[in-house]
Symmetry: D4
Subunit: 174 residues, 8 copies
């Protein structure tokens, strides 16, 4: 893993770490250096703005923002940079992430935010999508992504084989 972080992961609260660590894991699997920061669109607007405005010159290529509730973080990040911003809505209120999803995905024309699924699946996909962006100019990365896909497909096949045993155990064998 190169030392220079290419992906900056920001989250609105350290409560979101349990979700956003999935982005970290996905990036680590693919050998992509990243950094992770807590910064809030609402509680630390200055800190957030400063982080984002310096991101490009610090060598970051992609930003990932995870937040719940009225999840403004990704939009606020995107408003300060033309780097690609990936959003992970987090289920942090009684509305189960629907609030965060709509607050992230319904961005107005002009300032795109690439929204992933709510929660852990979305956080993992944010890491993989960041890799797909980096792979545009990096053949080796493209290769790693293809290998990952192949491994996933083999995992599905293995699980299908295990399922047959489970069916037999549960009395469904003829």
């Amino acid at each position: 893993m190169s030392k220079q972080p290419l992906v900056g992961i920001v989250m609105g609260s350290d409560n979101d770490y349990g979700i956003m660590v999935e982005t970290a894991k996905a990036l680590k699997e693919l050998g992509i250096a990243f950094e992770m920061t807590v910064t809030s669109a609402h509680r630390t607007p200055e800190r957030t703005g400063k982080y984002v405005r310096e991101a490009r010159e610090r060598g970051l290529k992609v930003l990932v923002a995870g937040a719940g509730a009225a999840a403004h973080l990704a939009g606020v990040v995107a408003s300060e940079t033309t780097l690609p911003v990936i959003a992970v809505p987090i289920d942090a209120t009684s509305l189960q992430g629907l609030d965060a999803l709509l607050a992230m995905v319904q961005m107005p024309a002009g300032i795109p935010v690439a929204t992933m699924a709510i929660g852990k699946a979305g956080a993992r996909n944010a890491g993989i999508f960041a890799a797909q962006i980096l792979a545009a100019g990096d053949e080796e990365m493209a290769g790693r992504l293809s290998a990952q896909r192949k491994k996933m497909a083999e995992g599905v096949e293995a699980k299908s084989r295990s399922l047959q045993e489970r069916l037999a155990q549960d009395g469904f064998a003829d």
Copy 2:
């Protein structure tokens, strides 16, 4: 109406004027000076930040923010000031304002935003609520609000009388 604006109305796009003019009308009826500005959380973050940070010293007492879609404007405004911020969600997408409502009302602990109803009713109420805030230290304003309430009640009674004629016209008189 005093010349010095006490209420600053901001909106994310001039498309929102048709809704936000209701706030202006309500303030004018109550004799409260205001100003109105287009500024976007996403397209002009710097302009928005500057406007809000100077608001208090420019004599503004209340800020009203109207926006649609992933309506971050009120939250972004609130993140830069401790003045009371009133939010008006606008029905600007196929999701009929539910996106704007959730993006405004579900603010995290620490940074309140006072959310009104979606659309024109909410915009009018933003103006009245601003007056209620100002009335805390202004007996005359409190009197104007009471007078407005009385007039509303009389309007309901007048409408109820007209309804009787309509019922007769429609053949429901006994």
Copy 3:
């Protein structure tokens, strides 16, 4: 904390105390005296009306109403006073607070209610927003709010530093 309550917190049921105590905590932190009452829009309409009609002369400046389900309390309170009314929707049914939110925020033109987020975040913000209203004519209160913001920002920075250790523990250090 002054003895004379400036904020009246009402809730529809004592089951709501666990949420509404967040408003109390926020007010206490900011040194604002308050009182708290159980009164129901539906079970004790008279009691509710009497409380609200006497509020202004008893010296209350802001009312906060917390309720769940078909949460009429804030609207009923607002119908009897021109004091600013802040609403806290509570997740008290299988619909997870969406019913309370819509029953509070969608007030018709003429009678504003300032709606906060569903649950604890909203209850805490109700206290802070009450302080923002009081700060309109109280420089010292404005100062306390600014200090609170600064402390919040420092908290975020501290959490971001702790996060680095957690990342290292979890094996993400390079």
Copy 4:
């Protein structure tokens, strides 16, 4: 139709007349005298309270309340009487009546409100349901309701016959 109104129809705004006239029509068809009033839970709380508290002694047996948005009218009416209260949610905002439905139907334990469908179907059913309540002690009314049902059934059969012609016209006859 007896002169003494047995059903009181209240609505929050005269804008709701186009919907609530369906209740009036249904009652007229079934020969039930009614009265219709505009009164708002929020704009005229006193007027609403007075109307409801006098309803029983004025000879009313059932109350029907139609309202849109944060539709508190039915709940407020029900809080002041033990007469049966029927609620008609009206589609009056961008949320298409879902707000009014939830604000009416999700009443807390102790104060029931009988909610009908959103809009015209619900308004018509409010009239029929009022008749069903009155029919508890009125055999003749029960007979009229049975006759109405029979006529409805015949209407369905007639429409099914017409449908065959339409199918033939549209080229679906074999």
Copy 5:
């Protein structure tokens, strides 16, 4: 409590007993005899039809139907009688009762169903509402309902007093 049941409670599954027992309790408190039956709109259509068609002649005055999921029971019951039918939507699927609510409340014009809140609050209110229907021709029942209301109001006041102690315990006394 008279022996002759006046209210028939039907439910689609005995799983619904935990909810529908609230209707039974409310009726017992008010001294109204009732009966309770499991019958399904889908699994036992014949049984359901027979029960409902015989209800009036068996002396029942009101029917209460509780069901979850695609809750057709109340509508199917209402289609076979002109007795008043009260519906209790039950939270029995992952959609948390929203499916049952819409399947009950959105009845087409002609066949009313009086829908209560989802779950226990609605079940209790179904019992009270049945009493309100019976009270139309029963002064004593009307008296019992008024007494119940008074007791509820006293309960709220008592809870408000207890709250003051709790506030003191939690350190909010001045």
Copy 6:
């Protein structure tokens, strides 16, 4: 097209014809004889029951039920037969078909209903799905379905070619 109808299409109201005619068209295209009837779960329960109980012996193999609002028709039909029942939710209220969808699809265990999409797409698919059921024992029908698929695919290709011209007209040709 054989004279003996194999598919029975029922709808709750003749207002639904504009949607359900899509089922008729799909069946006609595939050479499957059908019949179409108006019958309501609520207004004509007897008629509905009789129609469904006689369906199998009258030679019908599949039933299609279209309805809006609290759409009980498909469930009521399914409760009276073990023939496959296909449901088409219709957008007939302010809730845009969501009520009909949930009232149809959320059937309890034991009585399946095969739900299609809301509106015209669903009505057309009901016809095609009926054909897929019939094709289980009818090789020729299976062939017709394959031919239809091939034609659809060719249609997509043709539209893609036309799109290139439209792009050129709109000035996007390089």
Copy 7:
């Protein structure tokens, strides 16, 4: 149970087994041979396509697809075959199956998917519906389905009898 599987059950992940085993149980009860496979629309598109394209010639008559989240599996399966495809939406995300339901049921015109209820009820009904399809050309299967219905009805009656004891135990006997 015949050895030759007539129904192919596919699921997107082995996590779905706990739900989809209900389809297996229902089929076993009705004596229908089936097979069960894990295959993902997204992780193993090739495997999914191959499985579906060979299904008809391998003797399968019906396919059942269970999936959660953006549940594309049923649609992808249906796009590759004209066999009837039954979809079971699974509650696998914070949105409680609403995402899977809409992603399955809202199929465009031309490619039907027969959607069942979310979760276990839907999975069981998928098995019964598959039997109803097979019963089109199989009188004995039709008989088994009728017998199952009769048993279900008897179960409801038995539960209603038990309920009377429970009522007595709970003190509701007169």
Copy 8:
């Protein structure tokens, strides 16, 4: 604009052209060559698969997929490539794009899809986001994006100035 397309825009139906042309416009403004194709996940699975599998070797760097209803297209495209896939949900049914949004954004872990807002705003942002991806390795493109942002900000300021005239015309000048 280079001749070699770098972005492939696919849509499920030519009805979606009115929305997806916004992606084309955004790309043209930024000088990025693209191609546009109609291909359906359901009606032409083979065509879709072939297009996507050849995309990388044909020189495409980003794929954009627009679809409505049960919008599987983006997920199906993503399942066949490791190129970044951007999804545009289209409001094409009575559910107003909520179905398409959930069917696109809720992708399972492993296969990311970058979802934009519903409709035109999302389609425009898909074009800009594609440019942001390409700008990772293209300084000149990054410059064009910055210039576009600056122009947007100037547009907001110009609109704010025009608003002052409109306010004066509408009689709000002091």
